[in-house]
Chain length 185, copies 8
């Protein structure tokens, strides 16, 4: 792989049942043309592979790692313990099947002891994890123009909010709610 | 070491600041004359040593592991991922310095995903962790008479409650509360 | 009953509405060929039967007890108070009908006072309760080869994770998510 | 004992460390001249005595039971399972030593399953438990005039609030706060 | 109304959306042939009627009041402030529409300040509220034989648990789960 | 715009997905004939527009602002930081899609530091936010007769509760529940 | 009393133990020269006086009410039920003596049902309650110049932050922390 | 300022009362010889300065921002809304004065909506915030050798744990606890 296509971000998740949420991180990195790799690798079921992955990540050219897990979510912390790369943790709620709304995963991810930080985002916040990775790479990889892309992304986001507000002014809330059935995001 | 003195229980804790609580487990095992070893070994700061310890524990003759940790308490789960021995987790509140009453450590210890259980006891419940270890060994080590010792321990505990109740009947609650300043436990 | 078929594990639950979750413990014990018995026995509705069951369990050859209950989940604690066998508690969320995601059952199960431990697993963690029982029996019943079975179980679990990861590498996340509708676990 | 002095209320607590809080129940019953008895009797350490106490309570002439316990507070539920008398539960926080502010004891006391109610009062609410017992006895024991006493108690409470308000009007809040160091309740 | 049919228990709820849950209290009182009345009366929307109802309840011959409310559930407390009768509070979760699983209603009901107790039952525990009322009336109304009825109710409940356990022994858990689709409760 | 029709209340929400809940505020203001405007304006996505809106609100004649947001709900606080008008915050649960029942939004809205208050209403309490705005305007805009309208609104609300209670008395709870399928609110 | 000195704000608290916190509201109103009155009046102990106070408040010229209470904090809701004036609720934690950090009081204050809003501020946020009252009066009482005073207050607050920042730049954090022992706020 | 000494990290906090915790971030950056600046700048009290600071940060050469705040902790989110630099949020508990153990600040910091991430660390985790900043800079500033420094830091941390464990083996837990009064960390 050359410098343009070798993955810069590694996305890990504890189970393939996490993929519907965690794939948002992959989609977001694609939007920003950031090469990434994505793996299923549980801290509890394949601890050796996780440890090896984390240990070798830096040498393989990865610059940021994203780890999503639910319940007693140890994945991000275990990864962080074996690398000095920035590690972003995504606490997962388990959706309707989860019983605690992800508060267990949030605390198990964010409350890391002094010495080994995990950069934690919101419960099920895989998209923000990717955006945070982009923000980190924007500094280290100026040649990729990620800072400008992020700025444009923010502007588009702002414009989208403004457009919706304009539509709300035009239609009124009753009209807007009627239309929303089809095309609201 | 011979069979009588080789440690059967391994006690781990993430930091020496956990020792005041976790030493209760050691004291309790001594009461039951169960040989043990006790180590400081953080899942995040010395992950390799923890993994190696867990991997080798069974071969070294250990039969139960106890792991105490606070905050995003991964220690018990990380140990459990590398051994098939029963692992008992003690969530630690961090005492007055802790900010969440140990609820973070409790959830991070108990909410293990299917496949890798951790036998979790109460927040700061190091004494109960040792008693649980004794109960497990009572079955596997009948020659040690731990079942009988546990039964006697329960009887003493019951008698102590009964004695206090008798004292309460004798002194009344006012008298009892006055005396309690000196000798209550 | 002979030594091979007499139950070693007793599974209790407070209500037959707990059976869909608690039957996972039974299924798991069957996977490991561990003989067990399973009973409906509420700590509040048939306290005498529960107490008698717990008191006689050891004499009947049982070596581990598993108790699942929801809400103010007292079953495991009540059982533990009348036996010195290891008692594993499964807090139950009550599924969609439950209103607190099982946090009430978790605290009522795990926060046992010093002297009477309950080995608590995750909310609705009946499968892990059985695996923990197997781990305990692995030490006391070497003739059953449970340690090896557990090791194989872990290896299979690891292989399953690895296989899914391989499939993810092959299909990409989009392909994987498409396939997952039919055969994901 | 004659009808006037035989205890009508039984106060139980799991440990003598609960006595500073639970003695408030006794003091309150004395204010109302309601005969009571008070016992230390843990649901986990002396389960047989607790069960026997609950089973025999009605036959011994007791009409209301009060049970205070902390952590996985099973005492009230265990008592309620063995009597049809009204059982009042007092969740105990454990004061500064407790790590969860009593939320564990509250949920373990109040979240009883259908069929076996526990009348739960506030965390550490031993005084209110006694007042609730008095309210229950006021109906069944009209000869004791407890209804009138409760009414007078309420009037005094109201007057005390009114008096403090009057004092606040007179002194202003600055003066009141200065005086409060000595005589505020 | 004569002594047999004049209502002894008053059931209040804050909104008619609470009726599906609170009607369980009415059904239960009917099972025990305890005359009752049931009213919709919000502490916030018709405070005067609630206050008057509470003030006059005792004079009208009511002996126990049950109040169910959700969210900032003030109803039970407001009623308790205007009567010395025992008041039982039922915190309501609001079912699927509620956003906090009833924890708001539980705390708002149970955490009453010293002086004015509310006998709180489990979230959505209307059936237990009625059973608690029956237990209270059993003492004051011996002529109704409520104590015996409660004892029989407990026996039936125990028998039902025993019957289900017997069926489980007969069918095994697989057979039981199959049958449960039609006739489980 | 003249004094009668120029908006007095500004309603903001962070996303158009909040409109189904927040439109209740608009509907309620229309009931009271209070002119308002309603905007989509995220504190994080269009911070400049939000700040400008807040800064200019008073000069444009607005007298109360209502801000609804979910998760880390900063909108109300950010608005309050840039105006001295009263700001009412509505924490949003996100409905079924939200994972924490709105407790995150509640704490992020209400726990403002000294100096910058936000008048917080219940989770998803958009209707109450509007009623609070009406109550505030009732004092400042006596010519609109809002105090009388609020009084009438309260009377209607009380009458509606009374009517339902009357219907419950007439139909009994069984009849009421049957009817409720069609016409209950 | 004339228009300048007749109280515009009524401050209520449930107990004189709330005065140390609630007096902050009084002090703040004095800073803004807003006439107020302050009363001890418990919703549970003197419900009639509270109701009468709320009912008559508007007629007596009060324009905003502030109510502070702890635990099952009903005071603000009870007041709000009997007036159409804006009611501001202050949930009180009870300081060190409280066992739940005020979360009980927060939920009991803020989670009001549709129809009767309470403008809730942070736990122990008495100062912000007063500032919110000032913001409300700023609109209705333009002759008092409260808007300008609030603007000045905000400017001073900003200046104070800026001054501290300047001091931090000058002293460095070590110097600042040393000085802070004496003069930090 | 030249490239070596111009600040790369900006540390913000909402109040000087946060300095004792947040200064840990500064100390940690000094350990790694990372130039930083540190400011007091409240999102609510000086919103304009915060916004300007965030907007200009990138142009001024800053590469990472750290923001610490308590209660409804909006600072990190507000900063993140005005920059595309990585923003690290430190939820602050407020120490003994705080009433919710920092759970309010945690949720208000971490639960950011899609589009604007905040990299959140543990409650009061200022040291980890700095370490995370160092990890981010390690990639973008290879000339500073931060990766090697982080590796050495981890090694020292591991060695320190190992040394303590060795001391524990030498002294036993009783000896260790005795010594710990003087020299434990």
């Amino acid at each position: 792989m050359n410098r343009q296509t070798a993955p810069l971000v590694g996305i890990l998740m504890g189970s393939d049942s996490d993929l519907p949420v965690m794939s948002e991180a992959a989609r977001t990195l694609e939007e920003f043309e950031v090469p990434y790799e994505i793996h299923i690798a549980s801290a509890h079921r394949v601890p050796e592979r996780v440890r090896r992955y984390a240990t070798e990540a830096s040498g393989r050219g990865l610059e940021v790692l994203i780890a999503g897990a639910g319940q007693a979510a140890h994945l991000a912390g275990v990864v962080a313990a074996s690398t000095v790369l920035p590690v972003i943790g995504v606490p997962l709620s388990g959706g309707r099947g989860g019983v605690m709304g992800g508060i267990d995963a949030l605390l198990a991810t964010v409350q890391m002891p002094p010495g080994i930080p995990v950069a934690t985002v919101a419960v099920d916040g895989a998209r923000n994890a990717a955006l945070l990775a982009v923000a980190i790479l924007a500094v280290s990889r100026p040649e990729r123009g990620l800072g400008q892309k992020l700025t444009r992304f923010r502007e588009q986001m702002a414009r989208s909010v403004d457009d919706r507000d304009a539509m709300l002014q035009e239609l009124g809330f009753r009209g807007y709610l009627e239309q929303a059935g089809s095309g609201r995001s």
